[in-house]
């Protein structure tokens, strides 16, 4: 996993609540058996005027000129700003892969759906929760000054707005540690293989029907 320490970049304002994972990556792209290549289809239904199917040549598609990620400088954005309950719906990790493949390193919103939040942390895409008024403040600054950059600092757990205002966020220590160091979860867990085996031994004694 790519580590996340400090990132500064252009913020794309996506002024919607309840952005669901079907919107982030529509179902037809979930047929891929790979982890990469989803970026061109991030927000496909909103981003293009023609219906998208896997394998299409993107240079031949009709971009929706009104969609934020099609408008420079937001096509270069690396931080996404949205309203509450971002990432609700399906558990598809493809939604996170689509955002990272597009180039996003962080998403700032007042709240996130639980599964998206967890998936995000496992792929080096930092979900940043700020208060609703702070998010509103960022929307106003970014919209008044397109292309304005924001700095997200996971070490300090701060977001520095274009006007230099500093907002604080929190992330549980375990997730923060893994993100800061880009750690492989499975290797860490397997250090506790003996604990898992001991648990299974207890399970066989106490609830044998659970272990076939």
């Amino acid at each position: 996993m790519q580590a996340f320490t400090v990132h500064k970049g252009i913020v794309a304002p996506l002024d919607r609540s309840n952005v669901d994972t079907d919107a982030i990556i529509p179902k037809q792209y979930l047929k891929s058996v790979k982890r990469t290549g989803f970026g061109p289809n991030a927000f496909d239904d909103w981003r293009y005027l023609d219906p998208g199917e896997p394998g299409m040549d993107h240079s031949q598609r009709q971009p929706n000129p009104d969609f934020v990620l099609n408008r420079p400088p937001y096509d270069q954005a690396t931080i996404l700003l949205a309203r509450k309950n971002f990432g609700c719906g399906s558990s598809r990790e493809h939604a996170v892969w689509a955002l990272t493949d597009f180039g996003f390193r962080a998403v700032i919103a007042p709240s996130f759906a639980d599964i998206f939040f967890s998936n995000s942390c496992k792929n080096g895409l930092l979900p940043v929760v700020l208060a609703e008024d702070e998010v509103q403040n960022l929307f106003e600054q970014v919209e008044a000054n397109p292309g304005a950059q924001v700095e997200v600092n996971l070490e300090e757990m701060t977001v520095t707005a274009p006007d230099a205002t500093v907002f604080r966020f929190t992330l549980d220590e375990d997730r923060r540690h893994r993100l800061l160091h880009g750690l492989d979860d499975i290797a860490l867990t397997l250090q506790f293989a003996d604990d898992i085996r001991a648990y299974e031994e207890r399970l066989r004694q106490e609830r044998p029907w659970m272990v076939e």
Partner: protein, 469 residues
């Protein structure tokens, strides 16, 4: 000290290791796998030279991509076919239990888990699918995970989790005739919102929940995620135990009785404390129809499409306005004047035998209305289909002009050929009405099986009791 909630008990029984900050290594008993969210996990496993920790905990099935017609011809779409074949090669490579498309036990992963007794009370159940919460209806801790977590569970049989808060949703009293489990859960989501349960595990309780069958409880737990909660659950009672008895993978004989004794402890203690409690009066719940593009946008069948102008929160009003535009609906339209083009009865929410019986009861002796271009019934599994055919339900649907299909996820998310065309409106027993969910530009109204059937007959939304003839 306060007693324990059901969630406390399920959680504590699965703790392998707890770190000082509360991060917990939680043991997973059952891992359900389907073709869409697993290929990258198996690939990761192989690249790292790892093997499944406990292969016998896995049950795999293709459901999202499978066609619901002409199965003998295989899967026409080459991309879908590759994904299903990838699952087949992964399960055979690692020696995992698998029901291929041609097996009568194949079906939607959340239908076949309980049907096979693969999911049991007291288990932790995960799947790379947000509707895994369904299995909580059996008194299990069941939740959806992403693909990285699928790989983690395959490799370690565990997940790192932090205990969430516990919410109790109590539905007390007697339901009005014609009000179903689906209406209860839609009413709950309408009340608490799609983020109302975020950060919580929900226990559904109260006399109206206890009065439901296990299948009805599954429909409710299924949509916990639409209320924002990863897990939903119902305490074990005698109905749970009788449901499990005799299922193919359930314990038998003395072992069953020993298990049942444990399962009976899987209830919240009377003095358990919840972090939040929500109460609904069952008698006040009407049949529900969704009008917007989020499952919280619901109205009673005798109600009207709401007016964004009457909403005080500007962000919310804008969301409502956008939804009405997408749905091509006008504020204040009576719900009964909305006319679908298609009807879909199926999905992990509502494709079990009782759902099909409820729909068939409405349809029996009637015909699909002329404005309904397609009314399709997609059973949740091959075994549900078989049972329905033994009861003659297929004839009832076919005689009424419905289509009777093969089992799978189908038009709930339209990954196979079953989908809405742009602008088409659908009465659907599924769980999500997001933009484009059932096909790009498609418009979804979430309803119960009985209401979907009634809409197919009348050509517009209507209470089944008001149908003529």
């Amino acid at each position: 000290m306060a007693g324990k909630t059901l969630y406390d008990k399920l959680w504590e029984a699965h703790v392998v290791r707890e770190e000082p900050d509360g991060s917990t290594l939680l043991y997973i008993d059952r891992h359900l796998v389907h073709e869409v969210t697993s290929p990258q996990a198996f690939e990761g496993l192989r690249l790292a030279g790892r093997k499944p920790w406990r292969g016998d905990s896995v049950l795999a099935v293709p459901d999202h991509n499978v066609p619901t017609t002409n199965r003998d011809a295989g899967i026409e779409d080459p991309v879908s076919r590759t994904q299903v074949e990838t699952l087949e090669s992964n399960v055979s490579g690692f020696g995992l239990k698998f029901f291929p498309m041609a097996d009568v036990r194949q079906g939607i992963v959340h239908v076949i888990g309980p049907e096979q007794g693969a999911t049991l009370p007291g288990m932790t159940v995960v799947c790379g699918d947000s509707h895994t919460s369904t299995h909580g209806a059996l008194g299990a801790l069941a939740f959806g995970i992403g693909t990285s977590e699928v790989e983690h569970v395959l490799a370690t049989q565990c997940l790192w989790q932090k205990k969430t808060k516990a919410m109790q949703i109590r539905v007390e009293g007697e339901l009005r005739p014609g009000v179903t489990a689906k209406d209860i859960v839609l009413a709950i989501i309408g009340r608490i919102g799609t983020a109302g349960g975020t950060g919580y595990a929900i226990e559904f309780a109260g006399s109206a929940i206890r009065s439901l069958s296990i299948e009805g409880r599954m429909s409710i737990c299924n949509m916990s995620i639409e209320a924002g909660a990863r897990a939903g659950m119902v305490a074990v009672d005698e109905k749970t135990i009788e449901y499990v008895r005799g299922k193919p993978q359930a314990p038998t004989g003395e072992m069953f009785e020993r298990a049942a004794e444990y399962w009976r402890t899987l209830v919240s203690d009377p003095d358990a404390e919840f972090d939040a409690v929500v109460e609904l009066d069952a008698a006040e719940i009407a049949p529900q129809v969704s009008w917007g593009t989020s499952p919280e946008m619901v109205a009673p069948i005798d109600g009207r499409v709401p007016d964004p102008a009457a909403e005080s929160d500007p962000v919310r009003a804008e969301g409502m306005q956008r939804a009405l535009e997408y749905m091509d609906l006008k504020a204040n339209t009576p719900m009964t004047e909305i006319r679908p083009d298609k009807v879909f009865i199926g999905s992990c929410t509502n494709s079990r035998i009782e759902d099909l019986r409820a729909a068939a009861e409405v349809v029996k002796g009637r015909r699909k209305a002329d404005n309904i271009k397609l009314a399709m019934v997609v059973p949740g599994s091959g075994l549900v289909k078989q049972q329905a055919e033994q009861e003659g339900l297929d004839r009832i649907f076919l005689d009424a002009g419905f289509e009777w299909r093969e089992p799978g996820c189908s038009m709930c998310l339209a990954m196979n050929a079953d989908r809405l065309e742009p602008g088409e409106r659908c009465a659907s027993t599924s769980n999500r009405n997001f933009e484009g969910r059932q096909g790009q530009g498609g418009r979804t109204h979430l309803v119960s099986p009985a209401l979907a059937a009634a809409a197919a007959v009348a050509g517009h939304f209507i209470e089944p009791s008001e149908l003529e003839g």
